[in-house]
Amino acid sequence: VAATDSCKADKRRVDRRDPPGALPARKLLVVLVEFALGSLRESLRARARARRAAATPPAGSSSPALRALTLAAMALPGMACAAELEDAHIQYSGYKEGGRNLWRGPNGTVKAPPALEVQSLELGLGLRLGDRTRLVFDYAQDTWSGATPILSAPEGFLTVTGASAYPATNGLVNRQLVPYGIGPGGIGPGGTRVPQPTVWNVMTGASAETRRQFDLTLSQEWDEAALAFGGGISQEPDFSSYFAHLNGQWDLNRKLTTLNAGLSYTTSDIDANLGPPETWIDYGQYRNAASGPSIITVARNGQLVQKFVGDREDWSANLGLTQVLSRNSTLSLGLTYTHSSGFLENPYKLVMLAFANPATPPPLFGGLWATRLFNVAESRPDTRSQWAVNAGLSHYVAAARAGLHFNLGYAQDDWGIRSQTAELDWNQGLGRGWLVTPRVRYYSQSAADFYQPYFIWGQRVPLNAAGTLNFGAVPVQYYSSDYRLSAFGAVSAGLSLSKRFENGLTVQAGAEYYVHAGGLKLGGGGTASFADFDYWMLSLGLGVDLTARPSAPDGAHAEHVAGPAAPSSSNSAKRHASHAGLLAPAGLQYAHMLDRSEPFMVGYRAMLGLQSGDVLRGSTPATDAQIAANACGAVECSMAPSKINMTMHMLDLMYAASDRVSLMAMFQFVDMDMDMRMLDGAVVDSGGHGHGASMSQSTGGLGDAGLGALLGLVRTADQALHLGLALSVPIGSVNETTSSDVFTDYGMQLGSGTWDLVPSLTYSGLRGRWFWGAQLNGVWRTSDANDSGYALGDMFQTTAWGGMRLTSWMSASLRGVYTVQNSIQGEYNGTHTTSSPTDFPQNYGGRYWDLGLGLSFALPGSAPRGDRISFEWLQPLSQDVNGYQLERTGSAWLNLSLAF
């Protein structure tokens, strides 16, 4: 309540200073911003306030420039006070598959592909817009890499080329359609043929891809009802979804009974990159289809690639009931109907269709029939309807202080899949905010009617006039070998652990192990073991509940950072200077020390780094001919990067051990996307099989972690000097590979791979409206080579900034940055790509001048604390790169810091 009041008071203060000429613009901005936030009620209030403000005389004493800046800022109190941050969370999770039985070929030469891995990050913010209105923002991204099954086939129908297994084009079967393969004696005249019916997966390595999802939900509560609606988008290179959802809840019977209902809709565009045309795949049934999913061939960056395009829609409706049974038990029941239509195929899965011809040519090898094999894209019905019911019982076991949650689910659809789910969670309270939850889950499903590991018929091959497969005459219309549609069971067990601190911080960790096996299907009859696999999932998260924070210590930050510069005690004045760093630009690290008045800080920093445009040689653009001839060492470059985007999310934790020593821990999640182009005159070299051609690459996952301390050296009434020393712990990967399983370029690796020292020295000052500072910082690699054979160059940076507080809650800054980074030492100790300047160590590092423009805002209602959100844009002024590099176009920074 106090926070809301101070927010309102702040708003009134601003209103009084409001120049009358600004009103229409301000009104418009406030309305726009608040409409965007979806709070009509707040917007009406703001307009009423604006009308009141129109009657008050203008302040009229400030300079025109200041007034213009203030004017621009005026739009923000409406938004800021309308939305008050209540809670936030960040969660990392890693997923890794294993346990697959892989075929190694007759001579054991088939290479085991890298396991599928997914690295995910999820962020959430909960904002209160009014007494009973909330807005929740969620962001999730996942990067997946590794190999996945593309089709399954009996051993007799597989061949080996180099280190890879491929489906054959011809095979042999006996009269019972059992596949035969080459036996002892080889393929020569004395060779034999033996039954080889065991089914294996053919795996394909794919280039990594990153998906990003944004979801916004607005909810409103009443005494006995609640309504939430929202929507979002999910974007990945081959799949874009747009979705909306609406949920209602109604409490009856003095809240003993709760009814809920929901409706959601998703529309998705599929634009899957199937890579360059391959002779062993027949996409005939979809090629240039007039309606529905279609496969088209397009030229991209001088290379022919096939695209599988289409769209789909999903509707889902659910009804639910929760009933309080006793003072220790609740029962919940749910019913869900889902209808999907359009492109329901998995665009990357193939199916082997086999035709064993009993007539011609005459039987071979003592009665075996020649069999033609076709590898085609799968085909599923254009619609799917699914009903699902679930029942759950939750019981509080008072003797153990535990919550027992038992859920049963059953679902069936018109594809023939029937599934059962049972899940048991034991939520054990351990006191002092600890909660530990062991859980088990069992899932079982029958196969879709059109699922088979491969399809075989004893009949003449249906060919059309051109001699290719006549899809209209294939005996079945629908066929899929996707293991998701097979008959299997899955058992998983997991453990989640969480600890909630009294100040509103929650940390959590979770692990799960999951086994998928045909043999685990309920009642038996599951698909053979070739499709079995398992996975591990680990997660780590941190949550903050700002409503649970203890009230701020009196005047901790108020008078020197957020409030007007007022005379204060000498003790407070000293803190004044140490907190000048709080106003430092968003792109600057190690600039802010804590003191014991609020000993914890949770910070979130995000960076988007952009490179596009010309490839520079030194400071000037290089021609394609120069790049080709000189940038790739002894070989000739065929490609160059055209766009590189890097994003970094960092969790920044700080603790004041004393007023002079702050301890820090930093965790990063990074991802990189790079687009390549062919250099003029270069020879086109098409990539291997799999999805995603080599013209774009992505990586993503945990970056290096940092541990360190800031030491206060000098502190006067308005100036401070502190030393920072951090150690970068190499937990980020330096083994990222392309789809061909060779090292991707150096810049795409997620960490440095070396233990690095990161020293810094920061001077900062604050007087009246003005603040300023300077920092020297560097990165020193403590070894010459990481596990992959190289070390990134050392880095040195110097920066100076100045800024002004424009209002009590907003400040602006300007800074200059000079950076020197050395080139990479050593080189990869394994096979790596060699076609682009980014593949060579000499094309890294350089000397850079940047100009930074920053804005920083106190979070509404946080005036006594110093919670802030800051933004900064770093604009390159001059670049002098080592070797040949794509020019930098700038970087955007966001920094949110919350004090505890």
Partner: protein, 76 residues
């Protein structure tokens, strides 16, 4: 040996017992008696629930209750 009729009677008895348990409960649990139901053990889901559901959805044939709410292709 159970006849169909006796099975039906048994099912009906179980159903009635269940319903009467529900209805009895409705009249007895006052708001101040719901302290146990409001504990974190009863109300909180582990934070990794969403990511686990996303994985189940992309690995299993059943779409799940929140299937039409984004989630992407998951087709790897």
């Amino acid at each position: 040996m159970h006849t169909t009729a006796s099975r039906w009677r048994k099912a009906r008895a179980i159903l009635l017992a269940g319903l009467s348990a529900v209805l009895c409960a409705c009249t007895t649990v006052e708001p101040w008696e719901r302290g146990n139901l409001a504990t974190p053990q009863m109300t909180e889901e582990p934070a990794d629930r969403t990511v686990r559901d996303h994985i189940y959805r992309s690995r299993e044939g059943t779409a799940g209750p929140a299937s039409a709410r984004g989630g992407g292709c998951g087709c790897y």
